[in-house]
């Protein structure tokens, strides 16, 4: 699995819907945070990505999530993120949500290595080996 990053999020009142459980798009918001925090844990902040690699974010190609148990206001969730697959220009993240060892949800994000081209557009570039090495 390589490098793992963990962070905690406490479910807010505003994260929940009229059924009293987390409105599901918020899990994707937390997966996105998991991606950035995983990279940050390897010193790859947005600033460093831009400066060292001309990379401006990791645009999404595919995402998915499976919901096992509902989470409610005040629940303390642990989000565990890792990269579980590298391709030439894209990579796949796996995120797991638990609450006191109970499984809440899990999901995937496939992202491309978003290089800014001369015309300002962001396109998939080849992921440098040194980046891959940081996560192994």
């Amino acid at each position: 699995m390589g490098i793992l990053n963990h962070y905690s999020v406490q479910v807010d009142w505003g994260d929940c819907d009229p059924a009293g459980i987390v409105f599901y798009p918020n899990f994707y918001r937390w997966m996105d945070r998991g991606f950035w925090l995983l990279f940050e844990s390897r010193s790859l902040t947005l600033e460093a990505l831009k400066r060292r690699f001309g990379v401006f974010g990791g645009p999404l190609v595919d995402t998915s999530a499976t919901f096992v148990s509902p989470a409610r206001m005040g629940d303390e969730l642990t989000v565990t993120s890792c990269i579980d697959d590298w391709s030439r220009k894209s990579f796949r993240l796996r995120h797991e949500f638990t609450c006191k060892d109970k499984e809440i949800a899990s999901g995937f994000e496939t992202r491309v290595w978003g290089v800014k081209k001369a015309d300002g557009a962001i396109r998939a570039g080849i992921i440098p080996d040194e980046v891959k090495a940081l996560f192994s």
Copy 2:
């Protein structure tokens, strides 16, 4: 495919991230809206669902989305939703996002028929045939 529902959403400033494109969890927010509007188009509002079937929403089991082209502020998206699979206690929705005939994204939501039990908990119940008939 059965009954389709279409609605439009104009991408807001606040829907977009520092790369200037839609922050992807918003697509899931719009898929959720697509689910409710599809049901509403068959007179199945939240109120009617509660009154007629004791159903309180459609909790999610699985969701996924594929992103083809970025959408930006001001883009007028058409969201087309349908139910493309019925099981005994769950059903799958398909949502497509287009902008002037250009494909933007598509996704799936698998939801259960969320019946409120005597203890207040919401569990998967058997989907009535008359509900399935409304979408065929």
Copy 3:
């Protein structure tokens, strides 16, 4: 009052909290949308603002809102926006939310005219008279 802009928003499931009413930060999201749509109604899209005036958005200085009646899922809200005060480098918007003539909420946003400087920073610039004229 000058030029008014109206738009409609149907309250979504995901806009509401566990009390079943709109989670209040969403009213500010809708006020922000009201600002952009008011400007767009005078042909001042983000694109036009950048091209004609080097203006990149209208950064906020102050905002406030008063909540009169709760709004619930499915409610069709009308948002009415206008500029009710112009200063040299800033202006104040007034937004009103109604639902079938019932008052729901109202609020203010004070924004500056956000000019992009040579160093990339966005600072308050002097609002051109031709812009003010478009709203009178």
Copy 4:
């Protein structure tokens, strides 16, 4: 000022708009979180509020915020919340946002003591003295 509560929030990619700064409604989301965490710090969780006082949240009457410096992705904000005014049925919270001692924003929320009535509606009730005492 009475009891203060502090918490930290790191600005996410998804909290920021195309100008690269926090989309302002998020500050209200964080003020709402500040309210709940302040109450929780006095053992007044949502669960305790319901059980002990029949109170289901603190519906908003008025909110406002002033923005001093923009916050960007990765900024670590400290949110300091307190109750700065008590009325018979309502109270006012003050929230301050700082980033490494730099002032970012501040705001107010006036909330009522939301008691659930026999008909299910939530109305303003008289705030018990023992609650007020917890914050002095």
